[in-house]
Amino acid sequence: MMGTAGQDILLNLGRMDELARSDSPIHRLDSRVKVLTTVVFLVCVVSFPKYTVSALIPFFLYPFYLMTAAHVPTGLLLRRLAAVSPLAVLLGIWNPLLDRQAVLSVGFLSVSGGWLSFCSILLRFGLTVGSVLVLIATTGLESICAALEKIKIPRIFVLQILFLYRYLFVLTEEAARMLRARSLRSFDGRGTGLLSFRGMAGTLLLRTFERAERISQAMYCRAFEGRIPTKQVFQISRQDVLFFFFWTVFFIIFRWVNPAAIWGRFLEGITE
């Protein structure tokens, strides 16, 4: 059932947040440093040209390093990745159909540009989503939000993320209850069609509005004036500086230098 699948994902999300409360050298790093490093990482990965495949490989070092150093279970992370991967596949699968120009030949096999860019999309998806998941598992969403606010991201966006996260659980529970109620009163597939789905989506939206209003009342009752306080203490240590510079330099170097290509040229040089 759709509801249970959704809840599984959310439970996993809860698990990620629990992981964020454990302790390791990575957990202890300043959350601003982790956020900024991840941003540099994302920019570098995303800015590669569309046929890039081999040059992306060194970038896997970053999420893998974080995972090992912070003891994030690989299985959990891969399951989360798999849960959102259909989106990337859906986006990328058109490329092999539209772009049939052969750009690479391996022996007698020629690879079209479409397949190459499809691979590139999947790799980039794994890198970007994976690194963000690791960031959540080692930092926690609230700390990430506090860091975002500290580095001057407009407060309204930070609030949105924070509230989205807090009420995702309440909302899915509400949706799951509706789905359950519907399945109890529909037989032989009757009543499960698009029509009832439309009604449910509408109801859910209206309920969300009502809840949003109640929450804002509760906030104003407690003297809310547009600022969410955090107990976060920010302090940059030597480890933070080292972490940031090491990885930024690493990303920038490998953004321009492709070790696989150099190795290939080196081999060519030997055989000539």
Partner: protein, 255 residues
Amino acid sequence: MSHHLVEADNLFYTYPDGTAALQGISFRITHGQSVALVGGNGAGKSTLLLHLCGCLLPTKGTLRIGNLPVSRQTLPAIRKTVGMVFQDPDDQLFMPTVYEDAAFGPHNLGLDAQQVRPVVEEALRRTGVLHLQNRPPFRLSAGEKRRAAIASVLAMTPDILVLDEPSANLDPQARRELIDLLRSFEHTKIIATHDLDLAMDLCERTIVLEGGKVLLDGPTEAVFQNNDEVLLKARLAKPLRLQGCPVCRRKESSG
């Protein structure tokens, strides 16, 4: 002490869609009183509560908290004086952890981190949820959520506590513990509830609302003892405790 006074004078409120929810409500609640607000669905309880914390402003008439009339200008002072516990704790516990939620109000009142900690810890200790301080609110049981919601209001050290259906969704033991907890508070308490036995336990005075008007206002026992017809009109019934023992009644009718 006059700043604990709650006084409604001919209060009217009509919703934008035309529903006349309050139609001339007057009462005066003095320092330390504990008052139950009862009535059927749609009698105007929730609307009245939203007036007490300044979420709604009266269309006509005045509401005074302490010496201040509730108006847009006095809202900050009103919200410091009145602590509102909402019916659904999920609406009230919006911060990532129980501690941060309790710290939300004091922070907004301008206290710094050092000043906030003792206040919050005291509130959490009083409601018995100090050990849950680092837990995310959505993982708590209904009883724990209720306590955390009360702590988040207590941390603002209000003079008047307003509670909307505090015993809803609680198991009998959690309900009992909640009653004991509320009884230990010396604040002025205004409790909207369908749990009439809770009203008997906690409130010396009861106001019965019906159709946006005050139907009865008096000592709780007197209100529930001798007014069967009025209670029926207000879609209420006698508290179970006053209804006589079902086992004895069965014996009487058979014997």
